[in-house]
């Protein structure tokens, strides 16, 4: 991750997203990942392609609902929803549904750069007043964490992959200019190889 690691970041947030996500994914211990569209998907692919990632190029707001449906269908597997602040805000009500269904195997990590990074870095709603962790707690998800430095990774990994879920974490990440890392975009191909990796479909 040297290239990304050397990338200058702006704003006050210190976490460098590519290196941070790569470390989280390295420690996922068999968890399947539902990344939100855009940067969260590029981050996963940049960390090394895997059929256990459900790459997304669309469906804004659906990362958490999809991960929830998957977690309920596969109760013996850990599932991680990994998404951005804008995507999470669009599907924010789904946190109430997660709290209500209470899957023990679901972790949610929001990469919060407080901006709409894909569309020109327009200021997002989490930059000032909105506190995503407080929202998640209000919806009834009590198992939460806020990461502000790379030193928080071990605690984050423990929360997302080892604790009894559902869990919800926010990582305050810096705005960075990372190299493009674009995975497969044929949704049917992505879904099929994901199902094969899960053992749900035959190769």
């Amino acid at each position: 991750m040297t290239t990304q690691g050397q990338t200058a970041i702006s704003g006050t947030n210190q976490i460098k997203r590519r290196a941070f996500v790569a470390e989280i994914l390295k420690a996922r211990a068999g968890a399947f990942v539902v990344p939100g569209l855009g940067s969260a998907t590029w981050d996963c692919f940049a960390a090394g392609d895997s059929p256990e990632y459900l790459y997304s190029w669309g469906g804004m707001g659906l990362a958490v609902p999809t991960a929830l449906g998957l977690a309920l269908a596969q109760p013996d597997r850990r599932i991680l929803a990994l998404t951005g602040d804008g995507e999470m805000m669009m599907g924010i009500g789904s946190l109430a549904v997660v709290a209500d269904q209470a899957p023990k195997n679901l972790g949610i990590l929001v990469l919060d750069n407080e901006s709409f990074g894909e569309t020109g870095r327009q200021t997002g709603l989490t930059s000032h007043k909105t506190d995503l962790v407080a929202v998640a707690k209000g919806f009834g998800i009590s198992n939460t964490f806020v990461a502000t430095t790379h030193a928080d990774i071990p605690a984050l990994v423990k929360l997302l992959f080892q604790s009894s879920g559902p869990s919800f974490a926010v990582a305050k990440i810096g705005l960075s200019e990372d190299p493009w890392a674009l995975p497969e975009k044929d949704g049917a191909a992505i879904a099929r190889r994901f199902q094969i990796a899960l053992g749900v479909a035959k190769p």
Binding site: G58, L62, P65, L72, G187, I190, Q195
Partner: protein, 178 residues
């Protein structure tokens, strides 16, 4: 002639039986009055799961995730909820995941509430424009077989299908204003 609903035939039990026969084990929903009986059957069934949503589009994500994980789910809603789902409908289509919607119609047959009319009248057009095959049904006795046909098309053919249950079957809510 008045816009009297059909009564007598228990279509909810027919749908429930068709769901059971097809291992459709999860129903995601924003409830509607016309869905009450079916949703109660699902809630009472130990092998089934009711997922209450905050907005209908979430159900499309949950149903897609269920299919990815090897389970079958559907989304049940009132016709106004279809409008909340438009962009989300493209998601299972792109992943070639099955999608099964059960929609109780409002704004259609004897509706007294004008606020329900625009989306009710647009429901089928919107769904078809988005690539969802629509199965409108206006007789209670035909709901079960229509649902079964739509479910088979969705899950066996990896298609998006919607059963539209006419307000003629459900009845128009009056709030004492009829």
């Amino acid at each position: 002639m008045t816009a009297t609903p059909e009564t007598g035939h228990d279509w909810s039990s027919d749908v429930f039986a068709a769901m059971t026969a097809r291992n459709i084990s999860t129903v995601c929903t924003i409830p509607d009055g016309g869905l009450t009986r079916l949703l109660n059957l699902v809630k009472a069934a130990s092998a089934m799961r009711l997922v209450t949503l905050t907005t209908e589009e979430e159900g499309i994500g949950v149903a897609t995730g269920a299919w990815l994980g090897g389970k079958r789910a559907m989304v049940a809603m009132q016709s106004s909820g279809v409008g909340n789902c438009i962009n989300a409908v493209g998601y299972p289509l792109t992943l070639r995941s099955p999608l099964l919607l059960l929609v109780t119609m409002r704004g259609q047959w004897g509706e007294f509430n004008p606020w329900q009319v625009p989306m009710g009248q647009g429901t089928q057009t919107v769904l078809e424009t988005m690539g969802v095959k629509c199965f409108p049904v206006d007789s209670a006795a035909q709901v079960g077989e229509t649902f079964a046909a739509a479910a088979d098309m969705a899950f066996n053919g990896q298609q998006s299908a919607a059963v539209l249950i006419s307000q003629r079957i459900i009845g128009a809510k009056g709030f004492g204003q009829k």
